[in-house]
Subunit: 707 residues, 2 copies
């Protein structure tokens, strides 16, 4: 060898040693989420592409930096990547049809500028350019090619917002991924690097807003020190197109302002909120506005003063309106008084208010009428308040779906609700209501209760990250479909190889149905244990309020099971559009998956399968348990394809889920048998323990359940 | 170029690209603690040394793996590293003086085995070999050479134990580094990789035990599910020589066993504990034993049944004795009844019990007689119970020293206490009591209340890691000295360059004294705000129990300030050895740093400096504030020498500390002036606000203060 090649060899060996070191130190612990910009197998070499940003805003810099992070994805033949807004002279000269992109859409494609072929990422705003940059990276991460690339997209929903149920003491209500991401104690001084990574992750899937604090709000979050802390986060998030919102405690004028009332029609109260809003906007000029949970589960609200929800919302809306802020007012209300049927209360209270809300108010409605169950029919308010913008609220964190340890991909849940036909207007789906397309609302939105905490992998498990991802992608476009989103996520999170993506997506797609099967088959709901909602508790009947008890929801007796919501019962079906109400009024025309939600039916009722209802329930429980076993088999087969740390954690969690699915199935069957006195179908395994054993289980420190 | 060299160049470029990637991805976020095995500047090349382990235990494998992690530290001329215990035939043939190493000491040196020169790490046990391996790595990390290497060390203290004040709901009492490291919810199934890294870090500094749960214990930690969870942790820790202990709630026989009493002399109670211990040892064969906080701050204990602490401790000791377990019984007792002087209570209760404890009981005594203040005189029990093994308890977490945000290196605090002369026997220091050398106790120990949580950098800040490090090193050898330990830590944590180590150590060494100066100068104590102990509250006088109030401790009035603990006061000085008591009885022979701890003295009292006491206090407050400014200057000068992420966080925290030191100084002076009616010495800056402003400060969500 020549001296040169000898020195090259020494250099290469040194490099190899250094790589060995850093590889050891750098574990695949899930921190990178789906933003893993590893070299693809098809790309043997790469170089950092030339990136030309025609703009110097913080958002342009964020886009440029993100593309640099993704350098490994680009081949050597990548043309110059040009980032420019539509008003750039060279871009304008191309006469591209960019007007329809609005202020967040993007277009990514190859164009010729002068005599240069470039890869142009353009939009009407720098935020659009950022979204386009993430779209380009996603395209490459999912195996896309740069030849004839043409990515054009505009979000169909305006407000794509995470709701953090994070308390100021760091405990996250219904959080299963560690403490709150917000370290309020060291804010506003210390900007944990995670805050920027959180913003990157959200921007990559189009989320443009975040409500920092729990809807069960403390007034303290509106004090000067906490406004300063929120402002520090807003400063970090702003370059990524993310606005900060706060949950507002309706009684804050009393608690902080020393007023005697929080009556929304009291001028002093209105003035207090006006002054408070002005104070917030001085620190956070692009503050998004307030989210309010009022007169629900003990929270204060306008009804304490015999005012309507519209009175309350409009008063707050007036306070933020001069600054361009909005109010997201939740329709999740119950327990003001003992209800006839908890499922009916939101409709009963809000439907009459249609048309009474100020233009900068949007009413936030949960996907179903109870509370984030594994399956609920869509909420009857969707389509029933045409004069009011309604945003849909999903729960990304799995309060009722096995916490962080159960693998349950929620894409199908989101898609099922969004795709439901309201039958209020021809062809109208919930998605049409949410994106405002039928009634022409421009204030539209989708909220997701975040599953994010300080755990290193953010969401408590790798597969929980998929729910955050799917929420963002489907908020951008509610029609995307659960499977395509799962494929994207799997390719980005693991690798864009069919040998990995196919089995992973196969695991994911049936996983939520499996949870329904082993927890709440055939339309059952709210049979979880008290308070923490972990594990089965269908026998619970001794809680103070009727609608806190699982027996209130399933109404099982010797003769049958299910909640009669027809005319012979609560008549909640009448809250749907007449055509749908008629269909749901009859067990024969009610989808079996919602049967026990709407009807009390005999255990012997014949199902479509030919089995009795009782046998069908047993069959569903067993199917759910079997599905988890099948997921484990699929995951085991991927052991060599997935990095060790992420593989092992999911494998462990699948084993937990297997045990707990069996527990759910066994405990539920033991209880139903104690009620209906029936034997199990032949060949069915009996529960492992007697009912008393299941009833005796206690989980005093279950997470996510602040006392 | 030849084809070969061309392909080498391509290979090298590819490697360079990959390195670029991993370097981006791998941030210096503090996770690696002092176990940073980066290549030293003096080592231009390295290779993985040959490691030959003559043993196949999990501990041998841990040692081998650790040396592999540290491969970058070794030069190309490193001889084979041989790991073997003293009973290895080849090692035995060397006739090394290994017997004195005991079962944890080690010897690392070059030897000739047959015709081979090897680097031998040997000990009487595999644990000793592991400690020797870490010692070798530390030697290289701190710039040591392998030429003529000779590392021999034996721990002077047997139990080197962390106390985690971690609650089962994940909240850490007095924790300022995030939630509990123990994710009880996912245990025993999921073994977070952090658990093993925690064990590595502890083993590297010689810690050999950990009490998993808070001394304010819940009985639940003794139930079967939690024993299984503790056993899972014990399995992870065992290869690293770390035993698991549990805090035991004394009333558990009532709460879990359904007994009517927890009277330690009741045979049923003793039988319950015996059965419970047997149950624990079935899952954790090397379970260390129990730590008990009894009859203190509301905890149950033997005195509820008119039994002594010895009765309680000995009953538990009998339960674990057949398994080789021990009981650590805390002497921190107060508030049973309103005290004459809180500082006297532990001595009053425990001194008469000397000689009454079973042989496997060790009494755990806090470093001082109050509660982990920035400075306390050593606890009078040290040296006063010669027939009883006493272990010392330090607080590593900074409950009273500014939480995680203040830089306060506690090495000098540890060393000051350990080096204090008891004057009970000629030359006897607290360290002599702790290491048992005077009375010949073999059960010896040092406990540190951990500052560890789920924060990425474990301890809430880089410099807090130094306190964990110093505790472990000084528990191994209480005579090491604070400065040498700081030098080790700084070299390992940053780099072994004098340009970094010198200023970092200079910052550290005076930092605790600075906290004393700006919080509690001249022997003041417990003047912090209520509950959370964050910030100044010397004016607080309205709490229910007298000894909860800062005014109880400082007793400032128009005439003077300080707690008279001489014969004219509580006569606490009489609890010290007569010669020392005589010295402390007279302000003239009391060290000025402890003056106000022992004496109530006039504001005009002349100090050694020539200043009046009042002027001296002002001077001390100002010195403390100035020291923080000086630390900031030193840190700013290191900006180019420290990685960006760690540098920035410390810089931010120093700015917080600066603001808060000033607040402490200003609030304290404003209050003292309101009491003594005096003006500030000429040229002294007045407080920024009036006293009412300082009194009005509220911190409702201060961390570490579970309600």
């Amino acid at each position: 060898m020549t001296a040169l090649s000898r020195s090259i060899v020494r250099f290469a060996l040194l490099l190899a040693a250094i790589i060995g070191m850093t590889e050891t130190a750098y574990a695949e612990d899930g921190y990178d989420l789906w933003l893993r910009y590893r070299t693809q197998a098809t790309t043997s070499t790469h170089r950092v592409p030339t990136i030309e940003a025609r703009g110097d805003t913080a958002t342009f810099r964020a886009a440029t930096e993100e593309l640099r992070r993704g350098a490994a994805l680009f081949g050597t033949s990548t043309p110059t990547i040009l980032l420019a807004t539509a008003d750039d002279r060279a871009v304008a000269a191309l006469h591209l049809p960019l007007a329809t992109l609005g202020d967040e859409g993007y277009r990514v494609g190859r164009v010729t500028l002068g005599n240069r072929r470039v890869l142009l990422i353009t939009a009407n705003t720098d935020r659009g350019v950022l979204y386009g940059s993430f779209a380009l990276l996603r395209h490459l991460q999912t195996g896309g090619s740069l030849d004839r690339i043409d990515l054009t997209s505009t979000p169909r929903v305006k407000l794509r917002v995470l709701n953090h149920w994070d308390n100021l003491d760091g405990v996250v209500e219904r959080g299963y991924a560690g403490a709150s991401l917000w370290d309020w104690w060291t804010l506003p001084d210390f900007h944990d690097p995670r805050y920027a990574d959180y913003a990157r992750a959200n921007a990559s899937i189009g989320i443009n807003g975040t409500v920092l604090n729990n809807v069960n709000a403390k007034a303290d979050s509106l004090t000067a020190p906490y406004i300063a802390k929120a402002a520090a986060l807003a400063d970090v998030f702003r370059p990524y197109g993310i606005k900060v919102y706060l949950s507002a405690r309706f009684s804050a004028p009393i608690e902080l302002g020393g007023l005697k009332t929080a009556d929304p029609l009291d001028p002093q109260v209105a003035a207090w909120w006006k002054a408070k809003s002005d104070e917030i906007y001085r620190s956070i000029p692009d503050f998004g506005g307030f989210l309010v949970k009022a007169n629900s589960e003990g929270q204060p609200g306008p009804r304490d003063y015999h005012r309507s929800h519209a009175d309350g919302a409009n008063m707050l809306a007036a306070a933020v309106r001069p600054h361009g802020g909005i109010v997201m007012w939740r329709a999740f209300v119950y327990a003001e008084t003992d209800p006839e049927d908890r499922a009916k209360q939101a409709y009963t209270e809000f439907k009459p208010l249609d048309g009474q809300f100020a233009p900068n108010v949007i009413v936030q409605v949960k996907n179903g009428a109870i509370d984030f169950q594994p399956r609920e029919p869509f909420h009857p308010l969707f389509g029933a308040m045409p004069k009011t913008p309604l945003m849909i609220e999903f729960q990304i964190t799995k309060e009722y779906l096995g916490f962080a340890t159960h693998l349950a991909y929620l894409g199908p849940l989101f898609a099922e609700t969004l795709g439901s036909e309201t039958m209020q207007r021809p062809g109208e789906t919930v998605a049409d209501v949410v994106d405002g397309s039928v009634e022409g609302h421009t204030l539209t939105g989708m909220a997701g209760v975040a599953n994010i905490g300080r755990d290193r992998d953010w969401a408590g498990s790798t597969f929980n990250q998929a729910n955050w991802y799917a929420f963002g992608r489907m908020a951008w476009d509610p029609t995307l479909g659960a499977a395509p989103v799962a494929r994207e996520w799997a390719a980005m999170t693991f690798a864009p190889s069919p040998g990995i993506v196919d089995p992973v997506v196969a695991m994911m797609m049936g996983s939520r149905e499996a949870v329904v099967d082993y927890m709440t088959p055939l339309g059952l709901a709210h049979v979880m244990a008290t308070g923490h909602h972990y594990g089965p508790g269908p026998w619970i009947a001794d809680l103070k309020r009727p609608e806190w008890n699982p027996v209130y929801y399933h109404r099982a007796d010797k003769a049958g099971i299910g909640f009669d919501r027809t005319r012979t019962g609560s008549n909640a079906v009448a809250q749907y559009a007449p055509a749908l109400a008629r269909r749901l009024a009859d067990p024969a025309t009610t989808p079996e998956r919602a049967l026990l939600w709407f009807h009390h039916v005999p255990w012997d009722r014949r199902m479509a399968s030919g089995r009795s209802l009782w046998a069908e329930m047993v069959h569903d429980y067993d199917s759910g348990v079997a599905y988890v076993a099948d997921m484990s088999r699929k995951w085991d087969a991927l052991k060599l394809d997935i990095d060790a740390e992420r593989w092992a954690k999911t494998a462990t969690y699948l084993a937990v889920q297997q045990r707990e699915a069996q527990w759910w199935r066994d405990a539920s069957l033991a209880y139903w048998m104690s009620v209906n006195g029936r034997a199990l179908p032949a060949g069915t395994a009996p529960p492992a323990h007697d009912l008393a054993w299941y009833k005796a289980q206690r989980f005093p420190y279950a997470p996510g359940n602040p006392q």
